[in-house]
């Protein structure tokens, strides 16, 4: 196997008419990785906080999610009301996170919650989000014990609780937050960035919702 490795690397170097990177070139390349230069960042990814929240909500709705702006105390009630409005079962798998545990779910007597990852029979998932990206109305989910990935994917309906303060302008802001949380070059095992419900354009180029992931996505944007 190491023979295959050196065969590929040597062919690359021969084609580029040089040996292994060394000296100043190597230093420059290492420096580029250590402090990554920014590309052009769209103006719309650089709004002040209030504008960011508004833009996030707009793009999320354009991308077929529904959005409700609520206070933290209102979250359990809004979740129960959303499920009732859409004739969905009042039963959900919920991410075992301290953020969600801190909400008053007991106030909703009919809502039946199970903490943990999702299984095939779950119809509804409730999760938090690591961040929201205003630029495209995109949610960022970081995997870990408090956020199993299956919750983002298996159930038909995904209800997401997102704090206003976690809505950032563009992708670059998310990378900054990931580095701050997981260390430089560190990453959660899986980062799912999700823009609206699952969809496909594979039949006659017409977008249809609910291909393999959730058909419905409801985002609760929580005021601070």
């Amino acid at each position: 196997m190491s023979e295959a490795r050196s065969q590929i690397l040597n062919t690359i170097r021969r084609s580029l008419r040089r040996g292994e990177l060394s000296g100043a070139t190597r230093e420059a390349t290492l420096a580029r990785m250590a402090s990554p230069p920014l590309g052009p960042i769209p103006m719309r990814a650089q709004l002040p906080p209030a504008g960011r929240v508004k833009l996030f909500c707009q793009w999320a709705e354009i991308n077929n999610a529904t959005v409700a702006r609520v206070s933290a105390a209102e979250v359990p009630g809004e979740v129960a009301a959303y499920l009732a409005r859409n004739n969905l079962p009042a039963r959900a798998a919920i991410a075992p996170s301290s953020q969600l545990d801190g909400l008053d779910w007991k106030s909703q007597k009919l809502l039946e919650l199970r903490r943990g990852n999702a299984v095939a029979s779950d119809a509804v998932a409730i999760t938090g989000a690591f961040a929201g990206i205003a630029e495209t109305g995109t949610l960022v989910m970081a995997s870990g014990p408090e956020h199993p990935v299956t919750l983002n994917l298996l159930p038909d309906t995904h209800v997401v609780v997102l704090c206003e303060g976690d809505i950032v302008g563009g992708y670059e802001d998310v990378w900054g937050r990931l580095r701050a949380r997981y260390g430089k070059n560190g990453m959660p095992r899986t980062v799912n960035t999700i823009t609206g419900p699952s969809r496909t354009g594979d039949i006659e180029q017409a977008m249809e919702l609910g291909a393999h992931g959730p058909r419905r996505m409801h985002i609760l944007v929580v005021r601070e």
Binding site: G144, L153, R189, Q205
Partner: protein, 474 residues
């Protein structure tokens, strides 16, 4: 996949005579390309982002060995494994052995052009392992035993009715005995059938849109979420990626993502962009226990440093084919192998040889739309021209074309004779009547007029004589 690129002309005849295909292709113009135009207009920074995307890929290619080694180092530190595959056969063997190590009977497969390039499905099937395509388009064509006809919309050549017939034929045994008429019902049925296959699969195999050297992450961009189920539910996740997919940092990824979805489908963002970094970690409730990345070369390292290097910038968005008048007329299958359209016309001779695929670069009007929409600004017409030259040098061009060119060259090198002859031809053509402005049939020119009209020469003489008069008048 067995190439039929050598039979390009026959493939084209077949494609032009297929009413379902022509019906489907008619939707390309109002579909992807119109949506791309709108998305580009909505983002004032789009052109600057394309420049940056080109520069990032150029930088990554110029330091490819360095970034691949960095990527490997990070993946290993995360508890994953990296396998190096110089050839398609190497990659097939590595993947088969990995599947066998899990005792795999089925593999949930997310759309991968590289997997088609190395004919992975056939290899797994021969070893008794069933690869299950989970991208809706790939699933449809797998049921129909067809190759993909587009790099991001593999079933774009089919109409809804054809899909309905295919589902009825294959799903009836599962209890779905009604022929469906609505697109959303077809999607729902495929979702139901495939969900169980995801849950049963022993291995998930995906491609990668990008690899990040900084973090050791592999990036998957989909709308359906099928790649995510493939890399979350089975116990092993195998990433198959070609070596030119590596880019330095997350910031570079941000730029490339901003041009990818807009160029491909005209979306602001695809529904799912996923960064996977290694296997399941302590405390995780789900995710694969084993994480392997197979890096495929298959000739790419030899393209570096040559006049063809620009082709390695490609991020497989499909914009070049969505905007190509030739692709729009003949579809993807006529190209005869994995990669159709302008990018296919450039890549295919590179990957399977100019002897087999030398005719593909001739299938271009050189209108330049492909280059004008390419998010990483690959000069596709220039690269096609390069292949035409190679084809000519190797005497692969048909005799009639070579003789015609030689004859033209003889006169072109003798300007006085050339002017006399073209003047004569101009007058003779006028005798055939130029009232209509074009000829439907001409003696000795049947090869041309069988498929298109020849424009009649306009009054005022040849270009040379008009030019001479204009210069004289000044």
């Amino acid at each position: 996949m067995q190439s039929t690129s050598h039979a390009f002309n026959e493939n084209v005849d077949h494609a032009l005579a297929d009413p379902n295909l022509q019906d489907s292709l008619g939707k390309l113009k109002v579909g992807f390309s119109e949506r791309r135009r709108q998305a580009a207009e909505r983002l004032p920074e789009f052109e600057a982002l394309r420049d940056r995307a080109r520069d990032i890929k150029n930088h990554a290619l110029a330091n490819l060995d360095f970034y691949l080694e960095e990527f490997e180092r990070k993946v290993v530190a995360l508890g994953g494994h990296v396998h190096w595959a110089p050839t398609a056969a190497d990659a097939r063997d590595i993947i088969l052995k990995l599947c066998q190590s899990m005792g795999a009977r089925t593999v949930a497969k997310s759309k991968s052009m590289v997997a088609d390039e190395i004919a992975l499905n056939e290899h797994l099937e021969a070893a008794g392992i069933a690869p299950i395509e989970t991208d809706l388009g790939e699933y449809i064509i797998q049921l129909r035993h067809e190759p993909p006809s587009h790099i991001i919309a593999p079933a774009v050549h089919l109409t809804k009715d054809q899909v309905a017939d295919t589902f009825l034929e294959h799903h009836a045994k599962l209890g779905f005995t009604t022929r469906l008429t609505e697109r959303n019902d077809l999607v729902a049925e495929a979702r139901y059938v495939l969900r169980q296959k995801f849950l049963d699969a022993d291995v998930g195999l995906t491609g990668a849109n990008f690899l990040i050297a900084e973090t050791g992450s592999s990036i998957l961009v989909t709308n359906e979420g099928n790649a995510d189920l493939s890399n979350t539910l089975p116990r092993m996740h195998i990433v198959l990626a070609s070596i030119e997919k590596v880019i330095p940092t997350l910031e570079d990824l941000a730029t490339l993502l901003r041009v990818l979805a807009r160029s491909a489908t005209g979306q602001e963002s695809s529904a799912y962009t996923t960064l996977n970094s290694g296997p399941r970690r302590p405390g995780d409730l789900d995710g694969p226990e084993h994480y392997h990345v197979v890096l495929l070369d298959n000739g790419r390292s030899s393209v570096l440093g040559t006049e063809m290097q620009d082709v390695l910038r490609c991020i497989r968005c499909g914009a070049c084919m969505n905007h190509c008048p030739v692709y729009g007329a003949i579809g993807g299958h006529a190209y005869g192998w994995v990669y159709p359209g302008p990018i296919g016309a450039v890549l295919t001779p590179q990957l399977i040889g100019v002897e087999e695929a030398g005719n593909l670069p001739n299938a271009s009007t050189f209108c330049g739309r492909c280059e004008s929409v390419c998010p990483v600004r690959i000069p596709l017409p220039k690269l096609m021209r390069h292949w035409r030259e190679r084809e000519f040098e190797r005497h692969l061009t048909p005799a009639a074309v070579r003789q015609g060119l030689a004859l033209w060259g003889f006169f072109a090198r003798r300007p006085a004779l050339y002017r006399r002859l073209t003047g004569l031809a101009n007058r003779v053509l006028a005798l055939f009547g130029r009232a209509e402005g074009r000829y439907r049939a001409l003696p000795l020119a049947g090869g041309w007029t069988r498929f298109r009209d020849l424009p009649a020469p306009q009054p005022g003489g040849t270009f040379h004589s008009q030019w001479a008069r204009k210069r004289g008048a000044r």
